[in-house]
Amino acid sequence: MIDLALSQNKEIFVLNLGPQHPATHGVLRVKLLMDGEYIVSAEPVLGYIHRMHEKMGENRTWAQFMPNTGRLDYLGALSYNHGYARVVERAAGIEVPERAEYLRVITVELNRIASHLLWFGAFVLDLGGFTPLLYAFDDREMILDLLESVTGARLTFCYFRFGGVYNDIDDNFVPGTRAFIKRLRKRMPEYHNLVTKNIIIIKRLRDVGPISAGMCRRYGATGPVARGSGINYDVRKNEPYSVYPEFDFDIPVYEDGDSMARYMVRMDEIEQSMRIVEQALDRLPDGPVMAEKVPKIIKPKPGDYYSVVEAARGTFGVRVVSDGTNTPYRLKLRSPTFSNLSLYGEAARGMLLADALALMGSLDLVIPEIDR
């Protein structure tokens, strides 16, 4: 970290990282002012995949916006279905039957594992290792097949409905999920041996891109990024919703706030999500998957409502203002990566280019979710 104030180096040049760049995993452009290989200032430029979901929300009925939530963060789309379903159920006062809540938690946690596996592969790919990506995709494929057999989709799900879920699981879903968990439990030590304990990874991630708890609080960072800096905040524990209180799982928190800490938080979260899915499968109750008297046309009482869920990348909040008609008056989507990325300008200052990319990978960005 050179002392930037002193380096009045005349040859500071602008380097455009993106929008087409292998390490940005989407169309994010970062305008870097570089002095040699040190970054003088980094400024992310957004808007390359902006589709104005919030305006779409205002000219669609409540139910018609559900497919849009799957397109926000397509790696963890079920959490977004869950976030939107919860806020409308809260606004319209719809109860969700027990079995539907269990199915929601199981599918969301499986989706979280799939999202973390894909992040793991892409992150090590950013650091230069190609093979772990293929191994992680091999495991992730099993989850996608399981979710496809239930919801019909592999990436952009539209499975939740207000008051429950679209359809029930078929009979080989439960044994399939148990087999997957057994297999992933065997594979995780191999990932740790191949990557986590590898000296090159340790040298590349330890003390790289330190983010302090204060910086997280000032920028509103949540999810694994905040938990990597010692902030014990997870919506499933701090603001219990759905049937999460019935399961016992813990929240991995690491103190030192560097890329290694954020990496370890996500790797441990895979294990925790597996524990949740197992407990949920053991206690899966019977019964309907859809509340009985859900009105065909939903007209929530006027007023504004807010609800949050723990998506794979942080707190996904939906603020809805209803004026009693069947279309939302205002629909605000609070995307976790938007705030996580906003600290990049301050965090990446003075770093080397390679370390800045390791930091960006550890923030686990999904660009369509930032631009909305």
Binding site: Q64, T131, G152, C158, N193, I200
Partner: protein
């Protein structure tokens, strides 16, 4: 000085362990499906584009032209029209067009149809030369399906 040697020997050991894992997988069987030669079977709930369902008895579409699917679709992909011949009491379908370029496969149309007249097809490799190739006329597709079902049955 201690960490220097710990890094050196611990590091080299971690490198060797890494090599051992990859060479093990080098001799493992291949997991990929050779796509053009072998294809995967789609699960029953796979969501291809929607298709009309024929009434098993008469072979005519079950659709009663109520337009619920047209209104339910968030992206307005479905345009259908029907007319009521004088004698009959029910409308019959004259044209059912799906603009698959806008469809987001959300399933709201299939869900809103209480006559079970449309369902997801299992087609996934749809290659077409132009956008217009994706505006399907589901009625003619249904007729083709039922005709060649008859002649090869």
């Amino acid at each position: 000085m201690g960490t220097y040697f710990k890094d050196l020997f611990g590091g080299t050991w971690s490198l060797i362990v890494g090599l051992a894992i990859t060479i093990k997988y080098f001799f493992y069987p291949v997991v990929t499906v050779q796509y053009p030669r072998a294809t995967l079977k789609m699960p029953p709930r796979f969501r291809g584009h929607i298709d009309l369902v024929a009434d098993p008895g008469t072979g005519a579409p079950k659709c009663v032209v109520c337009g619920m699917c047209q209104r339910g679709c968030p992206s307005g992909c479905i345009t259908l029209s029907g007319e009521k011949p004088e004698g009959a009491k029910k409308k019959i379908l004259t044209s059912y067009q799906l603009d698959f370029t806008h469809c987001s496969l959300c399933g709201l149309c299939v869900e809103s149809c209480n006559f079970g007249a449309i369902d997801f097809s299992k087609e996934y490799n749809l290659a077409g030369p132009s956008r217009e190739a994706y505006v399907f006329d589901l009625l003619t597709r249904l007729k083709e399906r039922t005709t060649n079902v008859d002649n090869d049955a």
